[in-house]
Amino acid sequence: MGRSPTDLAIFIGKRLLQLIPVLLGIIILTFVFTHLSVANCSIWYPHAGKTTLALCQAQFSKPIWVQFWTYFVNLLHGNWGASVTGVPVYPAIAAGVPATLELVIASLFLMIVIGIPLGVMAAQTAGRWGDHLVRIFYLTGWATPTYLGAVIAAIFLAPYFGLPSHGEYTYTPPPFHQWTHMSVVDALLAGNLPWTWDAFKHLILPASVLAFINMGIATRMTRSSMLEVLPLDYVKSARMKGLSEFWVMYKHALRNSLITTTTVLGVTAGGLLAGTVVIEEVFGWPGIGAYAYTAIGGGGAAPNFDGAVAVVAVFAVGVVIANLIADILYGVLDPRVEWR
């Protein structure tokens, strides 16, 4: 009930405790829905051998609550399950989540450093040409279907700008240990600058496409809340003080209109985690989205039910944490907000 670091710690602790029932609910729901759908193993795994089919029958013929209990006890022991063919889920998730996170953070960065100034510019020139141009720009992004944007970028933009359009590195595996599974960070940690540059170039296209498609919401929110703030007296008094227009806009007006943008970016960031599925598939990014695609049988792969449940749970954690960060940022941005 205040603004001290202790209050912040209590606030974060409380919100993380709230995560437990959310996770439990998500896991139960996805587990039940995915596992109930398995009536006949030979339909789901048409190309499986006899031993696999037998394993499958053994697992799925038990009552659903027994299946869930086994899964849940394993999960509490740190065992995230495995596909029917016995490939464990955890290593794939552990490698995929950081890769996706890297992509999402990069595109969020672009949305913030490009989208928000565009919103400021649109508000400054409201109703005039600058405003219209910005609107055309972000509506184009908004109206572009993800797959189309990704494919156009991969086919046309990649050769035009000489940018790579597949994978994290030109050659895999990299000649260093992947501590974090974030391509740029790993290369930096290894002190390998050529590989860092390589990883960075690989990141540009998928991050830009993801940012371009989702940028509109940040721009639009910034514009509308700036328009609410601009006629206020403290913006005029900032001008009276003799501040230059840049500081009037970015120190006084923008800072006071960032609350809505933060909210929206928090929600979007959670959604981006799940929204990367198509992008990762097109750009061959070894993230959790690509894993989710194969786990639900995309590209003709055998479905991996434990994997699907784990991916959904991870997405849920991502959404909750993104919103938690947005809530913490409210307090940072506005001294009147208390963390509670």
Binding site: D233, K236, S237, G242, L243
Partner: protein, 433 residues
């Protein structure tokens, strides 16, 4: 009255253009505009308080903002300290800003809620410091710009004179004409010596500790404790916030403070405190105030002179006692009669001048008050009465065709009590045109 005025506005005009509707575009009608300030001339002496009163929507706030260069006027001239300040733009304007400051009406909206007290009050110092540094750095180029502008003006004048004299020259003999031509060419080529530009010393960058120190020193002058530097504005009461606004305005030592209804959001006791503070500060520092308000009592208490605005025009200017005790313009009379008085015998009175303030969009010619005026004659509707001095009351300017005739009508005669409704009032005794 011998001192040159600090602010001198002549025919100041501010219009806000309206967007044309589709029917207007189709009909080819020109763009209409709101005449917020329409040819106002006003002057403020150093150390003087000028009260600006009028109904809401009369353009008094717009005028205040124009004087403080928050709005660019669409016409007229504005001088500050004898210098035309409408030429000042961009970085020069930022540098000039310390001369005039504003205290806004809304004590909540005029303080950035994200900043601490020392940042809010100290920011003008920092901004002025930055502006001063820029100004000193760009001094040579600015001087050069001025020099070129002067040169351009001089040549323009020469050319015009040459053209004007063409007919007269044609009568002269050829040699004489040639000689004049050569002289003219030489004069055109001639340029005054380049200004010697000494490098201006760039002021030192202001440190955070210095800003805090200055703020700590300034807060007591507006009656705030000096130890509230790290508080946020929402921790203050309405009066406290208005004091913060005042401190923010005063910290750069302005010559003029535009007070835009500084007390209208406060309760009466706090209003009195703030007004007292303002008067004391004026005495200490020789500040000039432009007090924009609809609180006649405040004007009576603080102001030296008062200007009454109606629909973007000043209808009456004069010494505060002259205008408030013996108003001449019918609008001023009506305005003053509408001020509630704590007098049981005058209760249950009703204002006889009805109707609302008319639209400011392209107002018709003639006196703006004519549609509501009880003394209106045909001339009022056709011709705008210029602001003129009434011989009977020197120093008192009124814009009314019938000023001499309505001079002695008391404001209270524009009121009727409920009991006396319908009874002939003294207004009827105004001489018939």
């Amino acid at each position: 009255m011998s001192a040159p005025p600090l602010v001198e506005a002549v025919d100041l005009e501010k219009r806000f253009p309206l967007t044309r509707t589709i029917t207007e575009v189709v009909r080819g009608q020109s763009r209409r505009s709101i005449h917020a300030v329409d040819g106002v001339s006003i002057s403020i002496l150093p150390g003087e308080t000028v009260g600006l009163i009028g109904e809401s929507g009369s353009g008094k706030t717009t005028l205040g903002w124009v004087v403080a260069r928050l709005h660019d006027p669409t016409g007229g001239t504005l001088k500050f300290g004898g210098e035309d300040i409408l030429d000042i733009t961009g970085d020069d304007l930022r540098h000039w800003r310390h001369n005039v400051q504003i205290v806004f009406q809304d004590p909540v909206g005029s303080l950035d809620p994200r900043l601490k007290v020392w940042q809010i009050v100290g920011e003008p110092l920092r901004a002025q410091n930055v502006a001063d540094r820029d100004w000193a750095r760009h001094a040579p180029s600015r001087l050069l710009r001025k020099y070129r502008a002067r040169l351009r003006k001089r040549r323009q004048k020469l050319r015009e004179e040459w053209k004007k004299g063409a007919a007269a020259r044609r009568k002269l003999p050829v040699e004489e004409r040639r000689r004049l031509e050569q002289e003219y060419q030489r004069a055109l080529r001639e340029r005054p010596p380049l200004p010697v530009v000494a490098k201006q010393p760039v002021p030192k960058k202001l440190r955070r500790a210095e800003v805090r120190e200055r703020v700590r020193d300034t807060l007591p002058t507006v009656g705030l404790p000096p130890d509230c530097l790290d508080q946020y504005p929402h921790e203050f009461s309405g009066g406290g916030r208005q004091r913060l606004s005042l401190a923010r305005a005063l910290i750069v030592n302005p010559k003029l403070v535009v007070l835009d209804e500084p007390t209208s959001a406060l309760d009466v006791a706090v209003q009195a405190q703030i007004l007292n503070r303002l008067v004391e500060l004026q005495r200490e520092r020789g500040l000039a105030y432009l007090l924009i308000t609809h609180n006649v009592a405040a004007v009576r208490y603080v102001a030296d002179r008062v200007a009454v605005m109606y629909l973007g025009r000043v209808v009456e200017v004069g010494d505060v006692h002259g205008v408030l005790e013996r108003p001449i313009h019918p609008y001023t009379k009506a305005l003053l009669a509408a001020v509630p008085v704590a007098d049981a015998s005058r209760r249950r009175t009703r204002f006889r001048i009805g109707g609302d303030i008319p639209s400011l969009v392209d107002p018709p010619p003639g006196c703006r008050f004519a549609p509501r005026c009880p003394f209106v004659i045909d001339r009022c509707r056709a011709e705008y009465p210029a602001l003129r001095e009434i011989p009977a009351v020197p120093g008192h300017l009124v814009s009314c065709h019938r000023a001499e005739e309505v001079l002695d009508i008391a404001p209270s005669s524009l009121l009727t009590t409920d009991e006396g409704a319908g009874a002939p009032s003294t207004a009827a005794s105004a001489p018939a045109p």
